[in-house]
């Protein structure tokens, strides 16, 4: 891991998400899937968004790509500023032509199903070049594809370029998917549970690959995961999401050493630790609240072991230490 401390402290963020609210307008009500999220990612930085399924982490990433489920999903408030442009204000046509796949890109959840079975690797990895007119003519596209396959460390790319997905192993397919995502050298790469479908040794290789790519290109990465362990391995900073809001964020080691929010602590307790004596994993009891009619106060209160009377009011983001914030009354600075 690049030492977090060596990152220049002040630099204009590559991505700044402010007060993002993304609602799903369903028949049975409005689901506040993302309800006022603030995030920042600097160039060359990896931010982990951690949360259970349903916490809104995937909706947050889909909002950045402007690929919300149609017709129910809509960004109702907030801004997503990438390289100085507010993506929320762009038209769908602009988004598809100039942004998706070119400046902001995604590696999806399951590499095994993310490749089209009936087209060759060359065709699929070459597609982003063609969409964005970055290489013209068969020869040029082929050259570019070979180069990007080499970048993701696929052995003898020239030979494998005409192969089909089923001829690749799971780990290799994940590399191909990654190649598609970084083909046009995006500024920001969103990786949604990119390793959860792979076995552990390949997970480690993939994280290594992401790190190398980041070192070479300075791409900002958002790693979406439900697993704090994965986040610890690769991220510089993490944001923990619960019920559509960020409850705690900060430097990854800081969060691991001094978690403040009871939810974060619960998550940490449920990570199995190698080498440590077998201890019972503590799952957090209870269910997340309905996002159609969320509680007024802290959304974790119903499950919180340290619930207080004040939790009926939603806590603001308290600064715990530099860059470490938590939305919990426990973090309130004592006078």
């Amino acid at each position: 891991m690049t030492d977090a401390a060596t990152l220049p402290a002040v630099r204009p963020p590559l991505l700044k998400v402010e007060n993002l609210k993304t609602y799903l307008h369903l028949k049975r009500g409005v689901v506040r899937a993302v309800d006022g999220v603030d995030l920042e990612v600097a160039e060359g930085e990896t931010l982990g968004i951690v949360g259970e399924s349903g916490s809104g982490k995937t909706m947050t990433s889909l909002s950045m790509l402007r690929l919300l489920p149609k017709p129910s999903g809509r960004i109702v408030e907030g801004s997503i500023t990438l390289d100085g442009t507010d993506l929320v204000k762009l038209s769908e046509a602009e988004m598809a032509r100039d942004w998706r796949g070119q400046r902001i890109s995604m590696v999806s959840q399951d590499p095994l199903t993310s490749l089209n079975p009936v087209y060759s690797i060359g065709d699929q990895v070459g597609a982003p070049f063609r969409y964005h007119n970055l290489a013209k003519g068969r020869g040029a596209v082929r050259k570019a594809v070979e180069a990007v396959l080499a970048r993701v460390r696929i052995p003898s790319p020239a030979k494998r370029i005409d192969d089909y997905p089923h001829q690749f192993s799971g780990g290799m397919r994940q590399r191909v998917v990654t190649a598609m995502a970084i083909a046009c050298s995006p500024r920001l790469l969103i990786a949604d549970e990119p390793t959860s479908a792979l076995d552990v040794t390949i997970q480690v290789q993939m994280m290594e690959l992401f790190r190398e790519l980041q070192r070479d290109s300075g791409v900002g990465i958002i790693m979406i995961t439900h697993d704090l362990g994965v986040a610890a391995g690769i991220c510089h900073r993490v944001a923990v999401m619960y019920a559509g809001r960020v409850v705690e964020s900060g430097d990854v080691r800081e969060i691991f050493r001094h978690p403040v929010h009871p939810y974060t602590r619960g998550l940490l307790n449920s990570i199995p630790h190698l080498g440590r004596k077998r201890r019972r994993l503590e799952a957090i009891a209870g269910q997340p609240p309905s996002l159609i009619d969320p509680p007024k106060g802290c959304r974790f209160a119903a499950r919180c072991p340290q619930r207080m009377a004040r939790c009926d009011d939603y806590p603001p983001q308290f600064e715990v230490s530099t860059g470490h914030q938590a939305a919990c009354w426990l973090a309130e600075p004592r006078p």
């Binding site: 799903l24 307008h25 369903l26 028949k27 049975r28 689901v31 899937a33 399924s53 349903g54 809104g56 995937t58 909706m59 889909l62 489920p69 017709p71 129910s72 999903g73 999806s108 959840q109 949604d192």
Partner: protein, 298 residues
């Protein structure tokens, strides 16, 4: 993105089903049930309730258009054919033949097919291989062609039509029931029954049959429309129902000869077929969705 988010999206995108709901009440196909009941009433009532004798000739009133057109009379609601027979009465009479054929053919082909499918699936091995090969072979002959071969052998009649359709469709049941049995066989209670020394007959009747009844009912209801069309096609060709029995297919065959003179004679019996099949199919779809959700693709 298998996430709660995805299932939200799933719920969001079903407006077409909502439209259907609105059309047919809360999922129950009322219109189809109504139409189908009318067909059943016409079939049961038979000649007693037809306004005219379905075969009653009256050359004086030949080619009368339906009552709502100029020259039509309220006496002949849907007009008359070239021999002055009342089309409305004939359509009602045809309902009885149509339903008779459908019920017999479905019970026979379903019964035979289900039994063979159960035997094939339960015993497996050589028996299964042979039966399934026969099914394959029969399916390699288009059903109408097979029907023609059989029709060459048997002279056309109501019974022939039923035999032909039963022979054609048993394979369909056999194949699906066999698949069902293959998975049932793996269940614990069937294995236990076997260990407990239940006879094969007991296992079939007590343990297998109740579990395939839903599937059978769904298959049968979905087949009604097909059988009706098949019967109409055979009768149209002159290889099915014969005069003086009345069949919608036969009416169309007659009407074809004077297609230029009476459009109603060629459209209305077809509309009867269409409405009956449509309502049967919708009822079948509804039964399938209600009883057997895993067969949605059928």
């Amino acid at each position: 993105m298998v996430d709660v988010d995805a299932s939200y999206a799933e719920i969001a995108r079903r407006p077409s089903q909502i439209v259907m709901r609105r059309l047919f009440g809360s999922g129950i196909p009322w219109w189809s049930l109504l139409i189908f009941s009318l067909v059943v009433v016409a079939a049961i009532g038979g000649d007693n309730i037809t306004p005219h004798d379905p075969n009653g000739l009256d050359l004086g009133s030949a080619f009368k258009p339906p009552s709502w057109l100029e020259g039509g009379s309220i006496d002949y609601l849907l007009g008359t054919d070239n021999l002055g027979r009342d089309i409305f009465s004939r359509i009602m009479a045809g309902a009885s033949v149509t339903l008779t054929v459908a019920i017999y053919a479905i019970v026979i082909s379903g019964g035979i097919g289900a039994l063979i499918g159960m035997v094939s699936g339960y015993f497996g091995g050589v028996v299964d291989t042979i039966i399934m090969r026969v099914v394959d072979i029969q399916m390699s002959i288009p059903s109408l062609a097979l029907a023609l071969v059989i029709a060459t052998v048997l002279s056309p009649s109501l019974t022939t039509v039923i035999v032909v359709i039963s022979i054609t469709y048993w394979t369909w049941y056999a194949r699906i029931i066999r698949g069902e049995i293959l998975s049932l066989k793996e269940r614990d209670y069937v294995a236990l029954a076997k260990v407990a020394g239940c006879s094969t007959a007991t296992i079939f009747v007590r343990h297998l049959l109740p579990n395939i009844l839903n599937t059978l009912l769904v298959l049968a209801s979905l087949q009604v429309g097909q059988v009706i069309i098949f019967e109409a096609s055979l009768s149209f060709l002159g290889l099915g129902i014969q005069s003086p029995d009345v069949s919608w297919g036969l009416m169309l065959a007659d009407a074809r000869n004077y297609i230029g003179n009476a459009w109603w004679a060629i459209t209305l019996p077809g509309v009867a077929i269409m409405l009956t099949c449509l309502s049967a199919n919708l009822i079948g779809d509804w039964l399938r969705d209600t009883l057997d959700p895993k067969r949605r693709q059928l």
